[in-house]
């Protein structure tokens, strides 16, 4: 353990995966260097308009995370940086970083854009990386409006100064902050870190390499990522879908799937996300412009994730998206109109030619070129597809100890899977570095808070922001005006309120003038309010005695053509801010001690992994299983080794307590302080714990019909798997080495093979002719894709062929869901002679018996013919169903289930393993079906998220939260009903009370309370109404009526109502 030295971690890659890993680690006691190759963090997600399957706005979700990580005291963001080398061992690495110059001092830049406006290039001239070439930028630019760090950057490749040395350097002169610095040079420096997380993401496949679709030659052929920018409200066309060739609105848009994916000439694997991102793009395009007629050309429609199928259904039914199952062989341009001609074979087999206005290519996810170079420098291995090599049973572990990999670097995946892996990698790092937790993080000391006396003494700081505000708004007159407002004892103008020298000055003024409220009129509170709050706290004020007035984004920048009105508006806004400040109250934040133990519910694979991860991080963990044994879900042959290892580890782990034959009778409390009663045959036991992880699994559904249960020759895939001999089976859901297993004799061409064969002689107990039926019993009641069955069938088919290459196997399927690297299994099965027959949802196969001969009748959707097969064995894939115990857990924990019985996470994209209720986390098949590596990552992630709570020791509660006035509460239960977070309870007096730790500060209860008994801190009714009244008060009246009289008392007029 002496080797474990550094409580700091390098996270390489600032996309959503890197950001999530950085936040998880920094929140649980580690210092993080977030190293980003480009000038801003945010990655690919920042470029997306919406995300599937909910079509949520990507930037709305991402931007708060960017701000959070940018402001985190224990995260240092290093942009324009790449890794040179990594020396040392786990716990004690030395990483050398090369940082390119930005030519802009980010501590001085305020992203006002004056340098950009003054650049010698009057027009934007160079393709913008962020707009995927559709928009243009100048040599000096801000990567995107929400960029973090929010600062300009100079691109030396295009800047005239660097190219010729002859440039008037207008940008340098235009910058009022002296932020531009052309003398910056490349820096080489070393970081000492205990572990490394590598998250460089992916490269979209280069569509130019798929020549037949004309990308790069035809103006109106775009890629999916480009189309995303067209849809974005902040994109190059402001969210209007327009053709590049003529700027006209297209009507017919064709989307072509699998561009560069599932193709031996390009990438063999399936890119896993394209079917869904195209479906989303088609819907969103249609929503933007109802005239648009989207058509999607696809091979297999892979809607295999949570909520995906529903989105596709809606696309078809509500939005009229046309799906055509066909591979497009060629796109040609009609020179006169620049329209595009697509030739394809329709589902009846006849050749069609159709004209489209725009073609969008669903390019796949390729391995990141920079990631591959990075892998070389870090000394980690890649797999055969060029992605990071990982172990099936530790999906975030690279081939070098102490270096973890996450996100699309390990294979194509969507955002939630990336976030899951990021949290999983953070959890793995936490376990590794547990002994040095908290040794490199900073905690700040603040002076004791002054007790505010009742009379407001308000200081107002009106910012020039250089000329950003002062160039439009007469800021001097605004400050003068502020001085006349009741309660204001100090008002001044400041050139840059956020500059270090002013923050110091502000603290001095607070002390000298004994200010007890501060108003800053400058930019948006979304970025800097926390900075100013921290400053007044350093001066001894409660941080909630602060109000920020936005006179930049919401005034000077939008009214620059009307300077006088803008000045008047700024005064009104300041008047409103001061009115609110008069009503502000200090809010207290209490520390609540955390019970440093965890309760994990469900002793299957996920529960064991989660418990072990928490135990390794040093937290006492109760693992509760209601059956007699752990790991009963691990049935198949290829996970028996893993099962044995896990059972051993759980048994000897000093931090784990296993409770089998145990159920939970009662759970009370909240994050940090739960109290539960466990019931077992030995009696009842009460335990205290800080977090709960729900880790119940999903199980194979028991099919009905198809002669299942009536004839022993009809069984399920799981039963087949058990019957197959262990040593011959490939690793579960991992891609076995291709070479050794492709020796199976090729079978006759597909058409011939479709001819039914009468076998029935049956060599070996499983027989010669085997029919596998996918999607058994997928009805209205169970309409979701179970995700794992196709891969399971492929794996078993390959094993059957290995045992006996003469076997004839038929797989009857609806859509072949061999996503990601499973595509290799699909190809090998086809090469090995497995016959795949697609059937329509409306005409499922029928199994019957004739003179003891099994008969399977299926209507081949492709041939449009009925086929009869006489198999020796029928194997059913009945899908998976969640644990029925979930219903009880849902009631006990007050966490939601969806209509199929799976748990509903806090946010489908960015909080995949959290429940909305704080302190409760989820993993396992009962969250959503998944493969073994996927379940392991989810379990590790849930443990990592839970460890954040446990590692803190103390939780802060209070601040902007709601509280109930017991005098006014009538216990009508409205708040109890409406609170989305279950924070309201009825106390011993029979009145409503709000659990401070659970309250998220939305204020729904306050607005809904009919007795007006609930107030939300910082947004009290008196404060809001004071702003309203000031806004509409005529100027003269305001001054005359208010100056002589004492300060108005807190909203008396409003309270009486109700």
């Amino acid at each position: 353990m002496s080797e474990i030295k550094h409580g700091s971690v390098a996270v390489v890659g600032g996309g959503i995966g890197g950001i999530q890993a950085a936040l998880d680690l920094a929140d649980s006691g580690f210092y993080v260097y977030l190293i980003e190759e480009g000038p801003a963090i945010g990655g690919r997600m920042a470029q997306l308009d919406k995300t599937f399957p909910t079509n949520d706005c990507a930037m709305c979700m991402l931007s708060p995370k960017l701000v959070e990580v940018g402001r985190h005291p224990n995260v240092q963001i290093i942009t324009l940086a790449s890794v040179e080398s990594l020396e040392g061992r786990p716990g004690n690495f030395q990483m050398t970083i090369r940082q390119r110059p930005r030519y802009v001092d980010i501590t001085r830049c305020i992203a006002c854009g004056r340098c950009i406006a003054s650049c010698v290039y009057q027009d934007t001239k160079f393709p913008s990386e962020f707009e995927v070439g559709l928009g243009k930028r100048k040599p000096v630019y801000i990567p995107f409006p929400q960029a973090v760090p929010l600062a300009a950057v100079v691109d030396p490749q295009t800047c005239i100064f660097f190219k010729s040395g002859r440039c008037p350097q207008n940008c340098l002169k235009a910058c009022e902050r002296g932020a531009l610095d052309f003398t910056q040079t490349e820096k080489l420096f070393m970081l000492e870190v205990g572990a490394v997380i590598v998250a460089p993401g992916f490269d979209p496949y280069d569509a130019r390499r798929v020549g037949e679709y004309g990308f790069g030659r035809y103006a109106n052929v775009l890629t999916g990522p480009q189309f995303e920018r067209l849809l974005s409200a902040s994109g190059p066309t402001s969210g209007k879908v327009l053709r590049p060739s003529d700027g006209k609105a297209p009507k017919k848009i064709a989307f072509i799937q699998c561009v560069g994916s599932r193709d031996l000439r390009h990438q063999r694997y399936c890119s896993a996300v394209c079917c869904m991102y195209t479906t989303k793009e088609a819907i969103v395009a249609k929503e933007h412009d109802h005239q648009i007629e989207p058509t999607i050309f696809y091979i297999d429609l892979r809607a295999y994730g949570k909520g995906f199928e529903n989105l596709v259904k809606r696309a078809r039914a509500e939005h009229g998206v046309r799906y055509i199952r066909s591979m497009v062989s060629q796109v040609t341009e009609i020179p006169e109109t620049k329209n595009l001609l697509i030739r394809y074979r329709d589902e009846s087999g006849s050749l069609q030619e159709e004209e489209f206005d725009l073609v969008v290519l669903a390019v796949g996810m390729g391995p990141s070129a920079k990631g591959q170079e990075l892998a070389r420098r870090l000394g980690i291995e890649l797999n055969e597809h060029g992605f990071a090599k990982t172990s099936a049973f530790n999906p975030v572990m690279s081939t070098r100890e102490g270096v973890f990999v996450t996100g699309a670097f390990t294979g194509p995946k969507d955002i939630p899977e990336t976030v899951v892996q990021a949290s999983a990698a953070a959890a793995a790092v936490e376990a590794l570095l547990a002994p040095v937790r908290g040794t490199r993080t900073h905690a700040k000391d603040y002076p004791e808070e002054l007790v505010p006396d009742g009379t407001p003494r308000i200081g107002v700081f009106v910012c020039h922001c250089g000329s950003n505000i002062a160039g439009v708004v007469d800021v001097k007159s605004v400050a003068e005006y502020a001085k006349t407002l009741p309660g204001v004892v100090h008002a001044e103008n400041v050139l840059y309120t956020c500059s270090q020298d002013n923050l110091k000055h502000m603290k001095e003024v607070i002390r000298e003038k004994r200010l007890n409220r501060v108003v800053v009129a400058s930019c948006t509170p979304r970025n800097l309010a926390a900075l100013f709050q921290d400053t007044i706290r350093e001066a001894g004020l409660n941080k909630f005695l602060f109000e920020m007035v936005n006179i930049r984004e919401q005034c000077s920048w939008v009214h620059s053509d009307q300077p006088e009105q803008a000045t008047e508006k700024a005064k009104r806004l300041v008047r409103m801010g001061v009115a609110k400040a008069r009503e502000l109250k200090p809010l207290s934040v209490q520390s609540v001690r955390v019970s440093p133990a965890a309760l994990v519910l469900g002793g299957g694979l996920s529960g064991m992994i989660a418990a072990l991860t928490l135990g390794d991080s040093g937290f006492e963990t109760h693992l509760v299983e209601r059956s007699a044994e752990l790991g009963s879900d691990l049935e198949s042959a290829d996970v028996q080794g893993l099962k044995a290892k896990l059972l051993d580890a759980v048994r000897v782990h000093p931090k784990l307590r296993v409770h089998t034959n145990t159920t939970v009778r009662e759970i009370s409390g909240f994050v940090g302080n739960f109290s539960s009663v466990l019931r077992s045959p030995q009696g009842e036991e009460r335990i205290q714990h800080g977090v709960v992880i729900v880790a119940t699994e999903a199980y194979e559904h028991k099919p009905s019909g198809y002669l299942y249960g009536e004839d022993a020759r009809v069984l399920t895939q799981r039963a087949l798997e058990k019957a197959l001999t262990p040593q011959a089976s490939p690793g579960l859901f991992t891609v076995p080495p291709a070479a050794a297993r492709c020796t199976v004799q090729a079978e006759p061409a597909e058409d011939e093979a479709h001819a039914p064969r009468a076998q029935g002689r049956g060599e070996g107990q499983l027989g010669k002719t085997i029919v596998m039926i996918q999607c058994v019993g997928r009805t209205e009641r169970r309409p979701y894709c179970s995700r794992i069955c196709c891969a399971e069938a492929l794996k078993n088919a390959l094993t059957l062929l290995e045992q006996d290459p003469d076997r004839q196997i038929y797989v009857l399927y609806r859509e072949m869901i061999s996503y990601g690297f499973f595509e290799d299994l699909y190809r090998r099965a086809r090469d090995g002679g497995v016959v795949f027959i697609r059937y329509d949802e409306q005409s499922p196969p029928v199994v019957c018996k004739e003179n003891d001969q099994l008969l399977v009748t299926v209507r081949d959707a492709h041939l449009r013919q009925e086929l009869v097969i006489k198999p020796d064995l029928v194997v059913l894939s009945p899908g998976v169903v969640p644990d029925p115990y979930n219903e009880e857990l849902s009631r006990l924990l007050k966490v939601p289930l969806d209509s199929h019985g799976f748990f509903v996470e806090a946010h489908i994209k960015l909080r995949p393993v959290d429940f909305a209720s704080h302190g409760i986390f989820l993993c396992g098949g009962s969250h959503a079906p998944g493969t073994v590596p996927e379940l392991i990552a989810k379990a590790q992630a849930a443990a990592g998220r839970a460890a954040i709570v446990l590692s803190r020791g103390q939780l802060e509660a209070g601040g902007i939260i709601a509280s109930v006035d017991p005098e006014k509460c009538t216990a009508c239960l409205t708040c109890l009903r409406e609170c989305p977070f279950g924070a309201v309870f009825i106390n011993e007096q029979g009145l409503a009370e709000i659990e401070a730790v659970k309250c998220q500060g939305c204020g729904i209860c306050a607005a809904d309370c009919p007795a007006k008994a609930i107030q939300l801190g910082q947004f009290e009714d008196a404060q809001e109404l004071a702003m309203l009244e000031e806004l509409f008060r005529p100027e003269q009246v305001a001054l005359k009526a208010l100056t002589p009289s004492p300060l108005p008392r807190r909203g008396e007029g409003e309270r009486g109502r109700g």
Binding site: M59, C60, P145, E553, Q554, G1003, A1007, L1031
Partner: protein
């Protein structure tokens, strides 16, 4: 505020609408300076009383803007707000106030242009209505009459 410009208050939620208004600024879009934003943590915090008080205090128009449906940072706040706005809209005619003066919008934080457009459209819409009836005292009695 010049006398002929309608006075509008916009209640915006912190995570989406307020961010969209910021983006409108970053993109240097233009909208009339008579639109004033009051930031709420969530439109779920919007008390129906605020809407009535706004008209009582002298607002010519009120905008309430929350997240897109299904995207509320607080799960259901925007849906609650929408309901309250609809209720108040139905009450406004009894106070002699056209319901068109109050509107609920859903927008994402990336829709800077949409925010500017809403500000412009509401201004135009209210300009097209006849001026607000009566003085403050009169509308006040109207609220009390409820």
């Amino acid at each position: 505020m010049t006398n002929d410009e309608p006075k509008i208050v916009a209640f915006c939620c912190h995570y989406c609408a307020f961010a969209a208004a910021d983006l409108a600024g970053v993109l240097r879009l233009k909208y009339p300076p008579n639109v004033h934003i009051i930031r709420l943590p969530c439109t779920g915090k919007l008390d129906a009383l605020y809407l009535l008080k706004a008209f009582e205090a002298g607002a010519d128009g009120v905008i309430v803007a929350g997240c897109l449906e299904g995207s509320c940072h607080f799960i259901s706040g925007n849906l609650r707000a929408k309901k309250r706005v609809l209720v108040v809209k139905s009450l406004l005619p009894r106070l002699g106030i056209e319901p068109e003066r109050l509107e609920f919008f859903n927008l994402s934080s990336a829709q800077g242009d949409r925010f500017a457009q809403i500000a412009r459209e509401m201004t135009e819409r209210i300009k097209s209505l006849s001026p607000m009836r009566g003085e403050e005292s009169e509308s006040k009695s109207g609220v009390d009459a409820l």
